[in-house]
């Protein structure tokens, strides 16, 4: 048991690499073998993450310390360690990553037809980068995984992107954008070392970074923040996102929206909040303001879209705004230590932000899968050519309804709790910004119902409006065909999660709440 505990995180992180190496050794022609292997292999990390979640809940709750810590010297001369560990914040995100990876592989096994081997190889590799970021407690390790996640996604977008959406441009843009952020983050990390003498996040947090040199502290803060804000992406660094999401293959978009965006938010909570509480408190309002702008702006822009996938991409900008708002509120609350209610509002905001990370993961993941469902059949995403599908493809309609209403924050579905907690926190700390942010809720409802539901499903189905239908497997079809079994298998777990967590978020929330209380108490709240 202890052996497993000490190795489980490393297993989760590196098993996908092993998997991709094995895939690399397989002959290119054995596509079915490759697909099956990749899917089954990806189940191992999934099971491990589930085990971690259960074990953590049973044995490590209320410990206020990183569980499953492993610390091996990597570059001892400069104190760079392979230091991994998990707490309430990372455990659910690990599960999310594993789940979406498996589903993505399973879905892609049916729809990816060219260069299969490379796809599955890269997809496994990608998950390593994401797992790594969520568990690494050493800045350099964090950076390494951060960049490793970048490369496979660059390939996924570039190779399997839909030629109409200029995937090569999108891929380069995505890569350069993130690199531009992260390279300065690297400089800031070095700065952290120079000031604290360690790359270890926990130690650095204890010693405090650039406490003597506020100028450097501010600079490093912004370097980190911009890197994370680009990844999130926060307004105004979001413009890579619509292109990347639109161009990427379905599973790629799912991972991109479901997990990669979370890396940024996670980084803010894990690194920025613990290393630069002073600066964060000082500039927290900017973060919150950016979040609010993102919410409203993203919602409005989504309302203007007629391309389904691009719409959902922009909706991500809006939804990630909630996270930024929540985090910003937490930061501002650091200034209000002592004022009654500040502490619990901060906890609520923290919960809201982290809940949104997870919920947006499953909801937008599902939405992108659903885009894939219609795109694989109609080969267009132009909302103007659809209508009345509700009568023709009821299962698809129902699934989309669940995802859509979850996304607009309907109580009883997953999205609501994230929004509720975020606003509960934000109203307690930055009420005016929260008031503006509330506009976003209404606009969100508008674009989900008016753009997606109405133009896809309602109205009278007119077979003459769009004629290039095929089945999901590419055979010719006279009209839209309802979801195939594999699509149901991909989507329904997510829908079920939405419903369960919507009615009873506690199983998820207890982790985040644990993390919130711990991290905030470490900030001497």
């Amino acid at each position: 048991m202890d052996l497993l505990r000490s190795s489980v995180l490393s297993l989760i992180v590196f098993l996908p690499v092993v998997g991709s190496i094995i895939v690399a050794l397989m002959p290119k022609e054995k596509e079915d073998l490759i697909k099956k292997f990749a899917i089954w292999w990806s189940l191992i990390p999934l099971l491990l993450t589930i085990w971690v979640a259960i074990d953590y809940a049973m044995n490590f709750m209320h410990g206020n310390q990183m569980a499953y810590q492993v610390k091996l010297a990597w570059i001892p001369s400069i104190g760079v360690n392979y230091h991994v560990g998990a707490d309430g914040l990372s455990v659910p995100l690990l599960f999310l990553t594993a789940l979406l990876t498996t589903l993505g592989l399973y879905y892609s096994a049916r729809v990816i037809r060219k260069r299969v081997k490379e796809f599955f190889l890269l997809f496994l590799l990608l998950s390593t980068g994401m797992f790594g970021v969520f568990v690494s407690l050493d800045l350099i390790l964090f950076y390494v995984f951060w960049e490793i996640g970048l490369v496979p996604m660059y390939f996924l977008i570039g190779i399997w992107g839909n030629p109409k959406d200029r995937p090569q441009y999108a891929a380069i843009k995505f890569f350069l954008y993130t690199l531009a952020g992260s390279i300065f983050m690297l400089l800031a990390m070095i700065g952290v070392y120079l000031s604290t003498g360690t790359f270890d996040i926990l130690q650095a947090a204890q010693t405090g970074v650039w406490t003597n040199a506020p100028m450097f502290a501010t600079l490093s803060f912004w370097a980190f923040f911009i890197a994370f804000a680009i990844k999130v992406p926060s307004f105004p660094f979001h413009t890579w996102l619509p292109d990347a999401h639109t161009a990427a293959p379905t599973a790629g978009s799912v991972i991109l929206a479901g997990v990669l965006l979370k890396l940024g938010a996670y980084g803010i909570l894990r690194v920025l909040l613990s290393l630069f509480p002073g600066q964060f408190a000082q500039f927290g309002w900017i973060v919150a303001a950016l979040g609010v702008i993102g919410i409203v702006y993203g919602a409005f822009v989504s309302l203007a879209q007629t391309d389904l996938k691009r719409l959902i991409a922009y909706s991500s900008v809006s939804h990630m705004g909630y996270i930024m708002l929540g985090i910003g509120a937490v930061a501002v609350a650091l200034n209000m230590k002592g004022t009654e209610g500040a502490a619990e509002s901060a906890a609520m905001a923290f919960n809201g932000a982290s809940l949104q990370m997870f919920m947006h993961g499953i909801i937008t993941g599902a939405l992108f899968f659903l885009v894939g469902v219609v795109y694989e059949r109609a080969h267009t995403r132009d909302l103007k050519v659809f209508g009345g599908l509700s009568a023709v493809v009821p299962v698809y309609y129902a699934t989309m309804m669940f995802a859509g209403f979850a996304s607009l924050g309907l109580p009883g579905l997953a999205g609501f709790w994230a929004e509720f907690f975020t606003f509960r926190g934000a109203f307690g700390i930055v009420p005016w910004l929260a008031v503006i942010g509330v506009i976003g809720i209404v606009i969100t409802a508008a674009y989900i119902l008016y753009r997606i539901i109405q133009s896809l499903f309602l109205g009278e189905y007119d077979p003459k409006r769009w004629t290039h239908w095929t089945t999901v497997f590419g055979e010719h079809a006279d009209g839209p065909t309802d979801m195939a079994l594999f699509e149901k298998v991909t989507l329904w777990p997510l829908v079920i999660l939405m419903i369960i967590l919507g009615l009873w978020p506690t199983p998820l929330l207890m982790y985040f709440n644990e993390a919130a209380t711990n991290i905030l108490s470490n900030l001497h709240f």
């Binding site: 390494v144 070095i190 120079l194």
Partner: protein, 489 residues
């Protein structure tokens, strides 16, 4: 110091000397039979032997000055080892390529061996005279190598340009050295350092000498504004030679620059920090921005290697006493990794040229991933390493260099370097883009000879290994630095 001792300390040099002549001899014997394979083997053997010898010396942590002119210290030995390995790789890879392109294969390999010898002399030269001789030795062998493909206009042009530029730069260097001698009355670097330290009056004359020396040494390291020969020569010279020039010979340039500046001009640090800083920024920007435009991958690599020189120089700019981020160790690990990456990248062009008959146009790379995945993967790794993506060695080097810069709190310099990393990433990714995203225009896979393939694999493995098992190499580098930092600086 008796003869045996000298022999021991100069073992690598002697080995190379013997190897060089041995190669010619062997070649004379069996040129007709096997198109220089034996010669190449002998050369490689000799080089590896020399490398072993220098490692063996290294383990003894020597610190002697041999014959008043050669400082046999870990600093020099590090560069020797690196350079020998680099040259050896070049030779292995070029066997198949050179065969049929030239009749004088023996001379070719011999010249490479002698070039290695020149490098090993120059990196441990601690005396103005030997520095000059060593640099000229290296230059002259390089001229011949660059122009080795007789009857090939490009090769000849590369050679003549290199020659004219090198000769003039050498003359300027020499003028500088003469002034230095005039100011101090000695030709020994360490003594010069002490004298300059004592007499403040010699300050500005010392600077004059430094500036002129900079021109003469900087051109070897292809630093802007002394870089202009480089693109044409790298482009025109036979690809193995370009690989050699852009790595081993460049490393030698940096080694000399480091030794001269740190032993002879430590007290001028405020001055040369600014100047070298400016030069580094110029080098990075010019190299990277011009590389953006290139259509020929070979020429793109030529410019990129100029840009890389900029990063490497940062290590020297930010040199300081700190044990971890002293700057010089950044410079050295960067160079060490860079040798493998860039040699690999250039040599991979051999395969492309074989296929395309000389052209290294970017279009030749289109769809390479589907035609010959292995080569594409290796090339992608080299590109990512050059772009500085972890966990490759390129990242490690950049990390240490940047760390030194930050350590000296040269924030602007750091920021500019960061910006350059982003620009550079664009054209490195561009190669990957063509290899993986585009449909191929030419049919059929790209064949790589066994020798070439082994070299490429070795390089690729090293690119990853150094990055991942960084500690092993870093301890080595740090020790090598400790010596030069200790004396004089």
């Amino acid at each position: 110091m008796n003869v045996l001792e000298i022999l021991r300390l100069l073992a690598p040099e002697f080995i190379l000397l013997i190897t060089g002549f041995a190669v010619i001899g062997v070649d004379l014997a069996r040129r007709r039979q096997d198109e220089g394979k034996t010669a190449a083997t002998v050369a490689v053997m000799g080089l590896l032997l020399a490398a072993l010898a220098s490692v063996w010396l290294y383990l003894g942590h020597p610190g002697e000055i041999v014959l008043f002119t050669m400082a046999i210290d870990v600093y020099g030995l590090f560069f020797k080892t690196a350079a020998f390995i680099g040259v050896a790789l070049v030779i292995i890879a070029s066997v198949n390529f050179m065969a049929g392109r030239s009749k004088y294969l023996g001379e070719f390999y011999a010249l490479l061996v002698f070039a290695a010898l020149a490098i090993s002399v120059v990196v441990s030269a601690s005396n103005l005279i030997l520095i000059y001789i060593g640099i000229e030795f290296l230059s002259i062998t390089s001229y011949i190598l660059a122009g080795f493909l007789r009857g090939d206009k490009r090769s000849e042009e590369a050679a003549i340009k290199y020659f004219l530029y090198g000769a003039s730069a050498g003359a300027i260097l020499l003028f500088g050295l003469s002034i230095l001698y005039g100011v101090t009355g000695t030709t020994d670097l360490a003594t010069i350092g002490d004298l300059l330290l004592r007499s403040r009056s010699a300050h500005w004359l010392g600077l004059v000498a430094l500036m002129m020396a900079l021109a003469g040494i900087g051109y070897k390291a292809s630093l802007v504004p002394f870089h202009q020969w480089a693109p044409d020569t790298y482009d025109g010279a036979p690809t193995p030679v370009s690989a050699f020039l852009s790595t081993a010979s460049k490393a030698a340039g940096f080694a000399v620059l480091g030794r001269v500046i740190l032993t002879a001009f430590p007290q001028l640090q405020p001055d040369w920090t600014q100047i070298l800083g400016a030069i580094a920024v110029l080098t990075m920007f010019l190299g990277n921005l011009t590389a953006l435009k290139q259509k020929s991958v070979k020429r793109m690599l030529a410019y990129s290697s100029i840009g890389q020189a900029g990063y490497i120089l940062l290590g020297l700019v930010a040199v300081n006493q700190s044990g971890n981020f002293g700057g010089m160790n950044g410079l050295m690990i960067y160079l060490f990794g860079y040798i493998f990456t860039n040699v690999g990248a250039f040599l991979l062009l051999l395969a492309i040229e074989q296929k395309s008959g000389g052209s290294t146009d970017i279009s030749q790379f289109k769809g390479l991933a589907t035609r010959s995945p292995a080569l594409a993967l290796i090339m992608a790794m080299f590109m990512l390493s050059l772009a500085g993506v972890p966990p490759t060695v390129g990242f490690l080097g950049k990390f240490y260099v940047f760390a030194a810069v930050m350590n000296q709190q040269m924030l602007v310099l750091g920021a500019l370097a960061a910006v350059n990393t982003i620009i550079a990433a664009f054209y490195y990714l561009n190669v990957i883009r063509h290899m993986y995203f585009s449909e191929s225009e030419v049919e059929g896979g790209v064949m790589a000879s066994r020798g070439l393939m082994t070299v490429l694999v070795v390089n690729a493995v090293m690119v990853l290994a150094i990055g991942i098992f960084a500690q092993f190499f870093m301890t080595w580098v740090n020790n090598s630095v400790s010596m030069i930092i200790a004396n004089g600086f």
